[in-house]
Subunit: 427 residues, 2 copies
């Protein structure tokens, strides 16, 4: 099926600002709450949120096989379950409805009034009910840096790292959309040189610059997804901030991995950008040496050229961009992650989310965490207001942005922006 929604010559009758992440060629999917307290599945063009439930009720999806309440839901899980053919039909149809040359909705004020909202008038929700959340560790630069900083390993990488996309299970219950503030966690840590741990607020709260992909129902328990089929089960991507408390992590991490250091909060951008929309930005990832075992081998362009940046904005201040990275630096691809994840028969469902791991680039200004940018807190970084940071301060807002750009089109994710608050206090 052709992806007509990607047609770069198409313009929308809805105004799209210059450099918007959301031209008519994007058509991401999300869930929003209106001022009338209605929750609906939606998409976005420019600075407008579009109610897909209302579009469906007014018969704009006629001819596409959809259950009656497909979009009048508070999650995208059922839509994602319908599979790639339906995703593409719906996305192509939306592009046609909002095409500048199509008068059907453009000239129907009554319909427009119930379908189209200003972004400032809606509140973005989590787009999916996330059954299981997995976080990978797929940047060679990041894993190398962490090895050097945390474990004093000369070459950084552990023996298994080049053979498997190392990952672990995260916590679904604390995944929140952009703009939900996060509390500094309390936790147990071992002060340097001490033998008795203490309990108190974490002193080294960090961000991790990540993306994540959302899956559809992929397999039954026991069955694997061959790498050649993996892309069929990936609906789309979001930006992800994997909040981390480095001091808690250091004390708890051996032998079972990250737990309370990570599960206090994970923030994601609210619009899921489909792989179809990212198609023009397909590119090769880094060369893999040694060659992975056959079940993880693939050829061709399996990564995407997605520019990523992180800014820190102090309370009442301006944001300072502290890093610029790119998704294409990741060593292991999403296909490899999904094929690996299911190689033992682990079942993957609609709405499951898999994080990339911190996406660090090869240079000092492309590192994906404060841990790396300050080399474990040794070299504080300067913000534009003259203040310095080893880690994130209370009332700082961390803003991750991501977009793809070529000569013809810009496809972006918007942002995941979240403020760090002091530890929670009971009212």
């Amino acid at each position: 099926m052709p992806i007509s929604a990607n047609n770069t010559s198409r313009k929308s009758w809805l105004p799209v600002p210059n450099n918007s992440d959301f031209p008519i060629q994007n058509i991401p999917f999300g869930v929003f709450l209106t001022k009338e307290n209605v929750v609906t599945v939606g998409t976005r063009i420019g600075d407008y949120a579009i109610d897909l439930g209302a579009l469906q009720q007014l018969n704009y999806f006629e001819g596409i096989e959809l259950t009656d309440d497909m979009f009048m839901q508070d999650t995208l899980n059922d839509f994602i379950s319908d599979g790639k053919k339906t995703w593409r039909l719906v996305r192509n149809r939306i592009a046609a409805i909002f095409d500048a040359v199509n008068p059907e909705l453009r000239d129907n004020t009554k319909h427009r009034n119930v379908i189209i909202f200003n972004m400032v008038d809606v509140e973005m929700q989590l787009p999916v009910l996330i059954g299981d959340y997995t976080d990978f560790y797929s940047s060679k630069e990041h894993a190398t840096n962490v090895g050097k900083i945390s474990h004093n390993q000369e070459n950084g990488l552990l023996p298994n790292w080049l053979h498997i996309p190392v990952g672990y299970h995260g916590r679904s219950s604390t995944i929140v959309p952009s703009h939900i503030p996060v509390n500094r966690p309390m936790g147990q840590t071992l002060p340097n040189g001490e033998v008795t741990p203490v309990f108190g607020p974490s002193r080294s709260v960090d961000f991790e610059l990540e993306t994540a992909f959302i899956t559809t129902d992929a397999n039954i328990m026991g069955e694997n997804i061959p790498i050649s089929e993996a892309e069929d089960y990936i609906f789309g991507m979001v930006l992800l901030n994997d909040w981390s408390a480095r001091d808690i992590q250091k004390w708890e991490n051996i032998p079972l991995g990250p737990f309370l250091a990570k599960n206090f909060a994970t923030s994601i951008s609210p619009w899921i950008v489909t792989l179809d929309a990212l198609e023009p930005f397909r590119t090769k990832g880094p060369k893999q040496a040694p060659t992975p075992l056959p079940y993880l081998q693939q050829k061709g362009k399996n990564s995407f050229d997605i520019n990523l940046e992180v800014a820190i904005q102090p309370e009442n201040g301006e944001p300072t961009v502290v890093t610029n990275s790119n998704f294409k630096h990741l060593y292991w691809t999403m296909h490899q992650q999904l094929a690996y994840h299911t190689s033992n028969g682990c079942r993957v469902n609609s709405g499951d989310m898999m994080g990339s791991g911190t996406i660090s680039g090869p240079t000092q200004d492309s590192l994906g965490s404060m841990l790396e940018l300050t080399w474990g807190g040794k070299n504080p970084i300067q913000l534009n207001d003259g203040s310095s940071r080893k880690f994130i301060n209370d009332f700082d807002t961390v803003i991750i942005k991501g977009h793809c750009q070529n000569g013809q089109v810009r496809i972006g994710f918007g942002e995941v922006s979240s403020k760090l608050l002091p530890p929670f206090t009971r009212k």
Copy 2:
């Protein structure tokens, strides 16, 4: 509110075999499928499954505030959300309805026919939709043994183990009820002495003898549950087999913990036994030295005396009991696990499940895994049919049972029984 359901002098008008795990003093909660393909919330007395949805429709819960469809659901999550007061009212009422002296249902054949089923005529389902699954590592004996076997540590325990109930996140999507077979996982392993890993069926599939507790909605994100309140948020317990592939685990485990070695399957017993039913078996756990930090301190009887056993049954053979352990051996209590888990503000929801970790006792015949029973495969164990096992063979069934017993009553969990099949093959 008194727990009248625990009255040991009460008898049911339903026959209860000697040594049944399910006298009228138990009243566990589960979900079952009838021959008519109806799914309902239920309880069990003796060898009878009782349809709580039908009981509610026929007004047997009159006077207890419940939503109309509370029990006509395919999970217990909503009921668990209602909190301890409601759990207790319902359990007390069920005990009254089935009390030998109460003729109301006993003498109403028409009602009995739609409410009561033979256990052999129903199919047990997962009792809850498990949002997040956490597995702890709370047996000192097990952690010590694993340290000695896997890491060649002289004293076994890592520095943090006596200060925190170490845990990690598991996978919800592959938690299955008793009697669902499990496929031997494929996976990547590093053969002894080699530097290049291989991919193939795991050669060391193991069980882990565990219990798990199921929580109710406990907190909002950011908030912690003080240890003094933790028990209010624990609905009940099940038996759990934490299937593990030791060769995969060995290769993947450092630095982020168990992943594909565990997430291919986790089997649980289908009836949730309430903490109320376990109340008569409350006991002290092991002395904790050093004393935990204040947020993990508690006094009194915070463990339960629950006998546990594991048997291996070869295809067409008889089961051989390979270990006998007891929940009371666990070093860290459920209260400590839950207080710790939420100490950083991690949100806990209704239906979340937290595994105990392997429950090994202090003696050779009380170890909770083949890894320990055979000391890493070095000392195979004998089954009654003369065959020996280092780990679990294809077509073996692993059966975990658990019960409490005093002079007056026996309260049990039934079993979690699951057969290991060869690796999955596509049809």
